[in-house]
Symmetry: C2
Subunit: 124 residues, 2 copies
């Protein structure tokens, strides 16, 4: 009944651990395949789901885009996406501003913030 250690799980974990931005399923599959060529798409989905359940990784859901995944355990943060190079940057400090948007009799449990624009590089 304990969970087993497999090359596929390790490959997915390593890929995510070394990434410096959230990755999509296809990217994860491509990168993991370089080390463990036999890995299949279905397995990537299954491993990701199990890692999510254990909160080892977390989900980044940009509106209208396919899900991305990143290592969990980071400080609370959001993302800025550059519309030119599509690079994602972490953003923090959203905090108490957000609670003020709601009436007193509402309970705020969670929030998502996404920023879009031009990054320093693309602004030239």
């Amino acid at each position: 009944m304990p969970e087993r250690r497999t090359a596929q799980k390790a490959a997915v974990m390593n890929v995510l651990a070394e990434a410096d931005a959230p990755l999509g399923v296809q990217e994860i599959l491509d990168l993991a395949s370089q080390v463990t060529p036999s890995i299949s798409q279905a397995t990537v989905y299954r491993v990701l789901k199990s890692l999510l359940k254990k909160q080892t990784i977390s989900l980044v859901q940009l509106p209208g885009e396919t899900p991305l995944y990143e290592m969990a355990g980071k400080h609370h943060h959001h993302f800025f996406r550059c519309r030119t190079c599509r690079q994602m940057y972490e953003v923090q400090g959203c905090d108490e501003l957000i609670q003020r948007l709601l009436p007193d009799n509402f309970t705020l449990e969670d929030h998502e913030v996404f920023l879009f624009g031009l990054c320093a590089n693309c602004r030239r």
Copy 2:
């Protein structure tokens, strides 16, 4: 070459005009079918796409959820979704607070904010 007036387009428009919260494709289809029974799902998609292009309606993309649509032309706003009754409430006042989250050499063009929690009703 001008755009033509059809019962299906009118039906979709009316449904959205009378809604008090953003609607999904299936809801729009169901409601529109009550007036124009012959309308098909494909047509709903096509009409929505064309209305989006004309900016007559706008898209509400909750992370991880299927797209919703609402009449455009409202003031700038975001949404709070109650996790119990799933009702959506409009929220405004997100302000320039948001701009402060970014370094000076980044240009902020747009942003999305989603709040989740319990609404006044569900808090009892």
